[in-house]
């Protein structure tokens, strides 16, 4: 499956954006995953879903709603942190390694249409604005 993923067509995204973060010990950190995690009462992800769900910092009762059968799910079943390392972030915050854990984290389903218009013009900027509203400085991305 990795060799298939390696050959997936990718768009031209232009110049690489670059943001210099504040020191990690002062930074607020959020997780953005593409594992299609969600809460039980959230809308389910569909097979071509480009939207995201919000994962509150304190919740651990997350479901994996991904449509693809092509990645391992047993790791998530055994340990949420192998996909969504929220407890590890809490430990890093308690030790002062990171400044704080963001109140909201995000889950996409890893889908994108050929034009990328939904991600680039809609859900991507919406997600970024939500993270900015929470004063997030650093995002850890965990694709599956």
């Amino acid at each position: 499956m990795k060799s298939f993923a390696a050959g997936v067509p990718l768009p031209d995204m232009g110049a690489l954006p670059w943001t210099t973060p504040k020191p990690l010990a002062e930074a607020r950190v959020a997780i953005v995953t593409t594992a299609a995690l969600h809460l039980a009462d959230d809308d389910r992800f569909t097979n071509d879903d480009t939207t995201f769900r919000v994962l509150p910092r304190e919740r651990r009762d997350l479901m994996l709603g991904h449509y693809s059968p092509n990645f391992d799910r047993s790791g998530f079943g055994a340990d949420l942190d192998v996909v969504f390392p929220i407890d590890r972030l809490e430990e890093l915050a308690a030790r002062g390694v990171i400044g704080s854990v963001a109140p909201r984290h995000l889950a996409f389903a890893g889908n994108q249409e050929d034009t990328l218009s939904a991600i680039r013009l809609d859900s991507g900027p919406h997600a970024a604005q939500l993270l900015r509203d929470d004063a997030v400085d650093v995002v850890l991305l965990t694709p599956v």
């Binding site: 499956m1 990795k2 298939f4 993923a5 390696a6 997936v8 990718l10 768009p11 995204m13 690489l16 954006p17 670059w18 943001t19 973060p21 990690l24 930074a27 594992a35 039980a40 389910r44 097979n47 009762d61 479901m63 449509y67 059968p69 092509n70 990645f71 391992d72 799910r73 047993s74 790791g75 079943g77 055994a78 340990d79 942190d81 192998v82 996909v83 390392p85 407890d87 590890r88 430990e91 390694v97 990171i98 994108q112 990328l116 991600i119 680039r120 991507g124 997600a127 970024a128 604005q129 993270l131 900015r132 400085d137 650093v138 995002v139 850890l140 991305l141 965990t142 694709p143 599956v144």
Partner: protein
């Protein structure tokens, strides 16, 4: 994920990505990538191993010190995944009047319920409740035996049904093994050792034979199955 990283970075938030496919990070680089040669679905590498997960995070956050990018670093540990089925006891045949997969699923219900009580949440629920699992397997058994897939009584999108069945078995099995097995071994156990896995693959093959729409049967199992 490469696209999202760039959108978020452009909004003024520094990003670091944990990628398991190096070629993607090379072709459309996120600003900062830690490549881990880990099984897909386990970006932190090892379930139940906080020390290893902290090592991954320390290396990833260390990339934030770079002054320009793209930055692509490799985690030094390679986690291989083989396809030898894990060892996990399955219930003995109890009611011979039922299709084997139905009998098996009923026998695993206690383990599933213990896991659910422990975690408080299940990923079963796309279209099935845990109570629906035996009926769904009975419908798949009918398809496997040649009944037309539309007439077999399968409730809901077959792909979603398949995901729910996998989740039911995965969650029950988590309760029956000592520690999380390698990624490939869990999947091999389901498809090769369980009646449910074999029934699902047989039904999928029948649906292909019956010329069901491609997305409805193909995505019922991993592409390589």
């Amino acid at each position: 994920m490469c696209v999202l990283s760039r959108i978020i970075e452009a909004a003024g938030i520094a990003t670091v990505a944990l990628m398991s496919v190096r070629e993607v990070a090379e072709r459309l680089p996120p600003p900062r990538t830690l490549y881990g040669n880990f099984p897909l679905g386990r970006p932190l590498g090892r379930p139940g191993d906080p020390e290893f997960q902290h090592d991954v995070l320390a290396r990833a956050f260390g990339l934030l010190d770079a002054e320009s990018g793209p930055v692509l670093a490799d985690h030094p540990v390679v986690i291989e995944s083989d396809d030898v089925p894990m060892e996990c006891a399955l219930p003995p045949r109890y009611n011979p009047s039922l299709p084997p997969a139905v009998d098996e699923a009923l026998g695993l219900r206690a383990a599933f319920d213990r896991r659910l009580a422990q975690r408080g949440v299940t990923s079963v629920g796309r279209v099935l409740t845990p109570d629906d699992v035996p009926d769904a397997l009975a419908a798949l058994a009918r398809i496997a035996d040649g009944t037309k897939w539309k007439e077999a009584g399968l409730v809901g999108d077959p792909v979603r049904v398949s995901h729910d069945l996998r989740a039911y078995y995965d969650e029950a099995a988590q309760e029956l093994v000592d520690r999380p097995p390698d990624a490939g071994r869990f999947e091999a156990w389901f498809y090769e050792e369980t009646e449910a896995g074999r029934t699902l693959l047989a039904a999928r093959a029948q649906m292909q034979e019956q010329e069901a729409p491609f997305p409805l049967w193909f995505y019922m199992a991993r592409a390589t199955r």
